[in-house]
Symmetry: C5
Subunit: 355 residues, 5 copies
């Protein structure tokens, strides 16, 4: 549940270390475009990349895989990235944030998406937004995030081709935020399903489903709140790197974050309410079961005692021993007593409103 | 419970798509008025509308139905609406908000009203407030919101005819806020009813009523808080589009929102308190039932054992076997024992304060 | 519980309507005073009142009863009251607030006082504070609020005669705040009583008393918080209507509000703690009862089974059927068995710490 | 629990009334000192005091007992104290606060200290800090607060003799804050004790101890938060009455308040967690008891039924009536049946994991 | 749980007292370095230290042990430390904070690290950051904190040798923050383990583990929040003591604090959710046990009663007494009755959905 990557205490700050388990060798993809042209390259080294960069066009350098520290060091040298920033790129459990450096913005964001097995995968996307370039890092090779944007750039669809690198950064952030909506719908659906189950046939499985939903909500909240702050920081940015036109788009992204947070809080309240309903419903059932047990016991305890009494074997030769047993109508007398006891109980239980 | 309309992730920003299920073909209604005149038109196209618009009068263009994307695109071109704004008009699950554009304000609001079947319907109303026009969008054809205002305009009743488009926008927002009050009264009444039921005869149905009330309160809260922000943003607006006289009215609307939120919070606290009462009341009942069961069992268990003992069939030829059974007053001795046991129990239970 | 007066949705804003149920015909009382003089009048109409007003003195116009809309309209015309403000006077369920108009302050406050029947009555008091006048409205004819102030003015006791209308407004607000203290004392006393009851003899009645106290605290809180804001707004007021000397007094009133809120929050925490105590105490009792039941059952179940075994009627002619019953010491053997079972149980329960 | 002193509603503001129950006759003690000298006086009247005051020295006038309104009025006239301030001195249940008057600061603080009987006593200390004097009021004659400071002044120990009246005020406030620490230690110790008891042998007494601790924490919190505000207000004070050197000391006092509040919140969280542990622990025990009862009942109910069946007295002359009873191995057959039932039960309970 | 060191109330402010239990004699270690050189000294006295100090180099004076008040007084005189600050160094339960003095910053921080026995040890580290020196105090002789930094300085690894004393202070603070991560991982792991246990086999031990985790979270939170404030205060520092380059590093430390707090809040929510799961799970089990008990009892109570009835010994000579017992098929009739009763019960329980 807790994603956490960190240096062993005692390591000096800004140390570059390969990412914990694995972290495949990076693939660098350079996409160069302006209004007119579009080109894709797969440079094999930073030198090759450097030769390809064209400050007159928008250069999108997307790095997939964080396994090669030397290459990252070379890249960060080329783009004047601060060692602490590149450390944050490697320790892929950062909180989303925006940091200002001299000639670029450093944006950390989280891409939350369903993995195939019904759980949520969280992947850190790190962006360096410069004047004419966007440098993006992704730990694993999921194309689901950047591929639609690449397709749109290639086809010239949408606004991206006519705008600068800041719009490209927005497009990536927006794609991450958009991913929340279907997940929210799933969680919302799960909660409604749990609600129906609680009404019809509560079981321990329902309870665990509810706990899982609450945990998913916690995870989503933890991602959504700082994401909102990322948009907010970009809107309020005072460098020239984010243009006013893109800020209108960022405002829209910010509104989406607010909407997501709003729905998350709503779901949380609903889920908390369902827990209350579950507990009360359980209490009600226990109460009802107890009532049946008590009523049955209280009816039959005196009757059984009476029957046991007349089953005793006292010496009948004494007139004082169990005279009722010798009465000709003793058996009828016994049933009459039972009837009286039952009637008395009925009155008692009616008055208690247990029947 | 969760209203959510969104693009599939991967769609470029500011894409216009017809609304999910249905979204009937739009009907455009133009209401033109000033202090002296009042006229209504039903232009069939945006060109026809354009010809009819008169900047010297107040032009209220009300669009019912969002099914025709081409027409919306034409309208948004005519009124210089930003693509992101028109996208928000279409995705009718926005949070209420105010956005500033160059020559108009974009206001999103929610009209919450009871549908016929005892539930709450929420409908998004989008307003574009310009200098001499108000452009309003509504997804479905409920006349309940705008018809009273139209009647008032026609008859010249109230302040609206003598004022500008900003007052018209206020009148619409005010009508939406006013709708909260009867709903609040219903919810408040429901809570009081639940309270009485909890005291008299708590059942699982009561519990579900309580959960429904809490859910309705959540829904209302989610609508009321951003509505307050809408009023607040309009009051603080620094463009010329909202005049000082109308700000006094908006302040009144803001006060209504505060009052609504206040009552909502109050209801929430009451409902939470009722849940506590329900749980404690249940615990108390279970406790009482248990006491009756325990007292009855503890009285009859030893008595029944005693009766069973004297029902045993040990060979009476041995003097050592059940001599009591052969006593002439054995039966009386048995009842004496029973009496002693009962008295002992009474003392025990009295001391425990269970009787 | 929820006090709510509102127009039917669809009514134009600032409509004057007679108050819901009743609202008796208004009685206007004019009290004119300065350092030297004091006079009381009961003008029958607004014209008569107008003739009596003397801008050199302090004019306190107190209107009791809101049943006559025409008269209110005339009054509001005379004192240049905004239609929205007079609407708030009529809809007597406003939240306490201060509003600034051109030449007067509009203050809405709540007078919370015990009605005769052990509940809290809340009455809205609306004040219009002008340069040389205070116009006050009250829905019902309780003299409890303004009569002591009138007496003090008449007798020249206190500071009021030497000061302006702003002090008079303060005196009214202060009287409303002072009313909180005895109510708080009652609620605090009730909570202590409930605490004692919970320790000695918890019953369902105690639970309902606790719920009632919590509800009263909610009501008081809902009144106290905005009252604090009223004082705060008056202290921060930048018009000339509130003088610096009176602000010192208002600061004192503000401190009283803080103190009231502080005690209210304290009571709330105490009441919430008591609910926990009640629930745990109930759980403890149930636990104890269960233990007695279980111990008794577990002792007697095997004993009764044993007695039933030796009560069976197997054919004694077979040597294999119940040989114990034919032993000369069979009965003693039975009691020995019982003793062993009881001893075993005692060891078991001692180890479980249930005895 | 709720300390509350107030005027009867209807009393004019700033009325001086002797304190509720008792309030002994005041004793005035004047301590005059500078770097070189130290003197103590016990003036009998305000005139006598006035004659003794020396503006070149620091004059500490400590008034013990608030029973004599006339003397207080004379004192407040001598030191130009506002009637509202002197009213706050008398109503000794004020919240700690700082108020600015023309030539002095009015500081209300609370001295919380254990009374002899295991409870907390709260006493209001009111300070008027002027240029060359400190006027302090205390309701009761506990010397515990001011005596150590007097001793330090007398002996010239510490910083006080070399500094002004503001340091003296700080010293008094600091002494009040220092008193919190041993109390906190007691409460913390009590919570740890409760924790151990909950683990070992939870009883209803433990529950009441826990409730008492929570109440003490509430009381301490209610005192600590405004005390922090007092320090804060004095640090931010812009008059000349508090010098920069003393502000360093006040900052230290402020840090102590923060530390106290921090520990209080911690204790609160711990106490709340203990309540949860108590409830769950109780639930666990009840569950365990129920399991024993159920297992025992479910074992013996069918066995007892079987024994009762073979105790029936059907006419053995019919071959159809209870043939088992006539079997030579009927008794063995009965025990075989019992064994089978017991084995079946064991399997059932093992599968349920109740054994 | 509550760490608290304080003076006895009544002690004058800024009194230096040896630390409560123990506090070993201090060892002073002086580390002098610049880009080129590195040297370590162990001066025996403050005079010796004074002679060694070289304002052209960075002087790190680390004091281990607080047991010798005279030496501390000499040190504080040498470095112009305010008596209140040195008092805070001695009372080692301060909240982390930053205080500005004339020529140095006083930083209090907490080093939280696992002691050997599975608990968390908290140690106060006090730093005085001057122009060319860092004076650090530690109560106990754990080298775990400063040793890695010393090694890095010695070897010239990392950035420290090329930077000023402010970077050294950052390196110490960073080392303390880094220590949180493995602890967080442990706590997170413990919570996941508890979750698994709750699902499989909840016991009272699990409950106590959960309570321990919650307590550890409380402790960590109490340390993390003020630590964040320390970084924040240093970033916002306006003296020349903290250089802009180091502020970038401090910002990184601040981000780590945020991340830690974020994870802590997450764990808290998870732990609170687990408590709910535990309680509901317990309720569910109790409910299930009750159901078995009730079903068993309700089946066998009437059957046993019936068997007891036919075990009664009424005089068979009367035709009215127990005629069934004389029927040739009486026994079969009995079993038929039993069958009917069982069938009726089955229908009843099926309808209740208890089977």
């Amino acid at each position: 549940m807790i994603r956490l990557k960190y240096h062993t205490p005692g390591t000096p700050p800004a140390t570059l270390l390969p990412v914990g388990t694995g972290g495949c060798a990076p693939v660098i993809r350079l996409i160069q475009y302006d209004k007119a042209d579009y080109a894709e390259h797969l440079p094999g080294s930073v030198e090759e990349l450097d030769a390809l960069l064209d400050p007159k066009k928008i250069n999108w350098i997307h790095v997939c895989g964080l396994g090669d520290v030397a290459l990252l060091r070379a890249l960060s040298a080329r783009f004047h990235v601060h060692p602490l920033a590149i450390e944050d790129v490697l320790n892929t459990t950062q909180r989303p944030k925006v940091e200002h450096f001299d000639n670029h913005l450093f944006i950390v964001s989280e891409w939350i998406h369903p993995d195939g097995e019904g759980r949520l995968a969280i992947e850190q996307i790190s962006l360096f937004l410069g004047d004419h370039y966007l440098l993006s890092f992704q730990e694993e090779a999921h194309a689901g995030l950047y591929d639609p944007i690449r397709q749109r750039l290639k086809s010239g669809q949408g606004y991206a081709r006519g705008m600068k690198a800041d719009y490209l950064a927005y497009a990536l952030l927006d794609a991450m935020v958009d991913q929340f909506f279907p997940i929210l719908e799933d969680v919302g659906g799960a909660i409604e399903e749990i609600e129906d189950e609680l009404v019809d046939r509560p079981s321990r499985a329902t309870l665990h489903k509810l706990y899982d939903s609450r945990r998913a909500l916690l995870q989503l909240r933890r991602a959504a709140w700082p994401q909102r702050e990322v948009f907010n920081a970009l809107i309020r940015d005072e460098t020239q790197l984010v243009s006013p036109e893109v800020k209108i788009f960022l405002r829209d992204g910010y509104d989406h974050c607010i909407q997501i947070i709003d729905i998350l809080e709503n779901c949380r309240d609903l889920a908390a309410g369902l827990m209350d309903v579950y507990l009360s419903s359980l209490g009600f059932r226990t109460n009802e079961i107890m009532r049946v047990l008590t009523v049955a016991s209280v009816f039959f305890l005196p009757l059984s005692f009476l029957a046991a009494v007349y089953g005793m074997n006292f010496d009948q030769s004494s007139h004082w021993n169990m005279p009722e047993a010798r009465w000709p109508f003793g058996y009828a007398f016994f049933w009459l007593l039972c009837l009286l006891i039952v009637l008395g109980m009925l009155v008692f239980f009616k008055r208690k409103k247990w029947l």
